[in-house]
């Protein structure tokens, strides 16, 4: 009998995502992939996987999943509310995110709201037994490819699992939540700086922008002061779009292009968000406020290398976690107090 995770109730926008579909942009194929590659990688590390296995990207509110396997090890990374149900009609008990849990057949995990950011990731040990498309398990819904039938999860879906049971190794937790950084979102000016006026650049770097309701896997439309173009105007002969490219159409409001971005586009791009800060953008919710600050390409590369070092330390420094599936609030509280002594 094949092992499955059953989607008893789907969340708002759950899709399978890995690092993306790389190498086919010349054919117009968007990369897709995780909006927050940091959380994806940490979730895989906690589940005992290689970095690049597809996991469930949870958008804003997560699913309820029933275990139809002898046992399963899974890990949720991100500030999501998690509750474990021992079976149908049993009381739900809160369990922690940012660690792995070993759950048994018939138990169900309810992933509630993600708190304060837009995404969290749920990885399972061994991954999902779904065929890759053009080398990737990432879901790209606009072309209905990848993941499970190229779409977001629905009530009643059965996600096939590679492993029928969890391995016997112990559960792990993050030593600390990953520090994504704060302050302005860093950008490298260009490629079309010359399509913006001097005031336009000053407005962009000197103003606060608010994430509008038009924010999804393709990109984020910001609201705020209008950015002035130069005499060259907002239109260009279409060229390639890098992840994090900030295009500014005629109305002057910036749009940051993210995982599901089209491969080429015809609006002038004032700057590109640096790769180290893309996961921060992937976590933004409507109403969040950001500022942008300019750095050089060399500075951006150094920031990425520094982040990579911290990420490698985080995955190398996972700590043993108490081997259980669900605990009550009092015990959880007590455990946290003595954590360092007993489990450190």
């Amino acid at each position: 009998m094949t092992a499955h995770l059953i989607v008893e109730r789907a969340g708002l926008f759950d899709t399978l995502q890995d690092r993306g579909r790389i190498g086919f942009q010349a054919l117009g194929m968007p990369v897709a992939g995780a909006m927050d590659r940091i959380a994806l990688r940490l979730a895989n590390a906690l589940a005992g996987n290689a970095d690049d296995l597809a996991a469930i990207e949870i958008g804003v509110m997560g699913p309820t999943l029933r275990i139809e396997a002898d046992s399963i090890r899974l890990a949720v990374v991100g500030p999501a509310t998690l509750e474990l149900m021992a079976g149908p009609d049993t009381t739900a008990k809160p369990i922690e995110s940012n660690r792995s849990h070993t759950l048994q057949r018939g138990q169900a995990l309810r992933v509630g709201m993600v708190d304060g950011v837009s995404t969290a990731y749920l990885a399972v040990e061994g991954g999902f037994a779904l065929p890759p498309f053009m080398g990737s398990g990432s879901t790209y819904t606009r072309a209905a490819i990848g993941g499970l039938d190229g779409r977001k999860l629905r009530d009643g879906d059965a996600l096939p699992l590679v492993r029928a049971a969890a391995s016997t190794r112990e559960d792990k937790k993050l030593a600390a939540p990953f520090d994504y950084g704060s302050g302005p979102i860093r950008v490298v000016p260009g490629p079309q700086e010359d399509h913006f006026s001097e005031e336009g650049h000053a407005t962009f770097l000197g103003s606060e922008y608010v994430v509008s309701k038009e924010a999804d896997r393709m990109g984020i439309r910001f609201e705020g002061p209008s950015i002035g173009h130069s005499e060259k105007g907002p239109d260009i002969v279409s060229d390639g779009i890098a992840p994090g490219a900030i295009q500014v159409p005629g109305a002057g409001l910036p749009i940051v292009l993210l995982a599901d971005r089209q491969t080429v586009g015809g609006y002038a791009k004032i700057a590109t968000v640096i790769s180290a800060d893309l996961p921060r953008l992937g976590r933004l919710l409507p109403g969040h406020r950001v500022r942008f600050a300019a750095v050089t390409v060399a500075e951006a590369e150094a920031l990425r290398r520094e982040q990579e070092k911290r990420l490698a330390q985080a995955t190398a420094g996972l700590q043993p976690a108490r081997p259980e599936g669900g605990i009550d609030i009092d015990a959880l509280y007590e455990l946290n107090l003595i954590d360092g002594v007993v489990w450190g």
Binding site: G23, G28, A242, G265, I274, V297, A300
Partner: protein, 245 residues
């Protein structure tokens, strides 16, 4: 115009050969695209992830954990200054297209009226046009195909259609395109091909590639239906579309 190297963050840069749509500029883009692919196949240019050609520029995508812009750009510059062979069209494809069913060709009468030609003359100009695939983008498998007969040049429709059926053949400006999916669209639809531009059942699902040369071949509805049945069944061998010189 001299070549410019434009910043696209810390994972890409753009090699811009010009700012207009012109065959000689696009030929250099495709030349560099092919040259970098050959270098990578030979194990050189570590850290390059992929390249994205567009009408006038090539975007070089790299992994900032495997290389740096400072190390990579001089290597790309050397390829550019060393001379790029104008990439010959890799192949010529004959695209069957049915212009004769009014359901397939909703904009044919309007195009005829606005260009002052008969329906037959519009179809004849489209099938006589020498088309080149310059770039794919916007959605998977959607090709911008340049080379439309100048008499047919029109701006996009002022009111885009909410739904254009898959495999519709449209024109706008000096280009033609074939819709890979049902989607909104503002091009003037002249006909429909039984081919699918994107067939996810195939290992390589995209039919067209930058550099391809295209000719449209007029077919009757009966031939359309026969080819469509083959396509539906996944039985059409794409290599049979190639026109041998």
């Amino acid at each position: 115009m001299s070549v410019r190297y434009l910043n696209c963050g810390d994972t890409a840069f753009s090699v811009e050969f010009g700012s207009t749509i012109a065959p000689d500029i696009n030929a250099r883009v495709m030349g560099l695209h092919a040259r970098i692919a050959a270098e990578r196949a030979a194990g050189r240019l570590p850290g390059v992830v992929e390249t994205i050609p567009s009408m006038r520029a090539l975007m070089v995508c790299y992994d900032p954990l495997a290389t740096t812009r400072a190390a990579l750009q001089p290597e790309i510059e050397a390829l550019v200054t060393g001379g790029l062979e104008a990439a010959a069209p890799s192949r010529t494809l004959a695209i069957p297209c049915c212009y004769d069913d009014p359901e397939f060709a909703p904009d044919l009468p309007e195009v005829a009226e606005r260009t002052g030609m008969t329906l037959e003359a519009v179809i004849a100009r489209h099938t006589a046009s020498d088309f080149h695939v310059y770039v794919l983008g916007f959605m998977p498998g959607l090709a911008y195909v340049v080379g439309l007969a100048p008499e047919l040049e029109l701006p996009r429709r002022s009111q885009p259609r909410v739904r254009v059926p898959r495999s519709s053949v449209g024109i706008a400006m000096n280009m033609t395109t074939i819709y890979p999916f049902d989607s909104p669209g503002g091009w003037h639809v002249l006909g429909r091909t039984p081919l699918w531009m994107f067939d996810q059942r195939r290992e390589q699902p995209v039919l067209l590639a930058p550099g391809d040369r295209l000719q449209f071949r007029r077919i009757e509805r009966s031939e359309y239906d026969a080819i469509a049945a083959q396509v539906e069944a996944g039985m059409l061998d794409w290599s049979t579309l190639e026109v041998k010189a």
